[in-house]
Symmetry: C2
Subunit: 152 residues, 2 copies
DNA sequence: TATTGTTATACTCTATAACTATA
DNA sequence: TATAGTTATAGAGTATAACAATA
């Protein structure tokens, strides 16, 4: 950051610029798949297996009341379903339908391809180091993967 | 990506994880400053100088009709103002008020500090390389800086 | 005709508070 | 009492379409 710079050049500024870029790619890809960004995120989380409402709210970082509406809308579109949890009559479990699984997988492939295309602007060696730093930073804050592997 | 991985580990997955992390920091910081994330972004853009409505819509990536409401709300809160453009009676120019300038600066300092704290999880040498890669990627797509320096 | 900006309308997303049912 | 989830309400953000005024 030498005197005379007329644009920010620190790591913080880079994080913000890249983050908005990635979010724009995510939003555009969601839209191409007929989903809102939050719906896409929800489907990807559910691809890792069924979840309770409160659990989902925690993962997505929204209040449980907001989650009610989110699940209503994906359910109305046939992408997910609420079902009872044996042993606790208060609780519900949200599961992807076959269409929801397909939508989640298709979206995930698309967004990954778009972002790999973005990263292709870096030479291979630099890209590898960059990816390692990304993982290290995300792990340091416990950021969850978007598309967790389904349980065994 | 060896067989047996049960979590994504490519660059695309890292970009998504980090991006959501940064957006969460951005949102939390906005809220602490009494702003929505879009309002914070708008104020930071305006810190670079006055802008027309259509120009702002382009920078923020929203339709001009949506921008009307965004500017209404920051104007109602005394953070920005619409004024006439001499020579074109259709056009308006949006300018930060003194309070808006102060809010933009304070927010920018806070969010930069938060993100520098995030990046502090990397050793200095790796952080420098990482920052360089961030800038290169953002520049490759023409991503604008959040907080552009005011014109000379 | 094209451009600048607003209005009208509808929908998604979100939070807070109050509620029901079950544990 | 505490937990799981919903309903009610309000507001922000967004898009599309139709409009007014000016260029």
């Amino acid at each position: 950051m030498t005197a005379g710079d007329d644009e920010e050049s620190g790591v913080a500024a880079g994080l913000i610029r890249l983050s908005f870029l990635v979010q724009a790619v995510f939003a555009r890809t969601s839209e191409r798949h007929g989903l809102t960004p939050v719906q896409a995120k929800l489907l990807c989380v559910l691809a890792g297996g069924p979840r309770g409402m409160a659990e989902l709210a925690g993962i997505l970082g929204v209040e449980k009341a907001a989650l009610t509406g989110l699940v209503d809308r994906v359910e109305r579109r046939g992408l997910a379903e609420r079902s009872a949890v044996p042993g606790d009559r208060r609780a519900l479990r949200v599961t992807l339908t076959a269409a929801g699984r397909q939508a989640a997988t298709a979206f995930h492939h698309s967004v990954s391809a778009e972002l790999d295309g973005l990263a292709a602007a870096l030479p291979a060696a630099e890209r590898a180091r960059f990816g390692a730093s990304l993982s290290r930073l995300a792990a340091a804050r416990g950021a969850p993967a978007l598309f967790p592997a389904a349980g065994p």
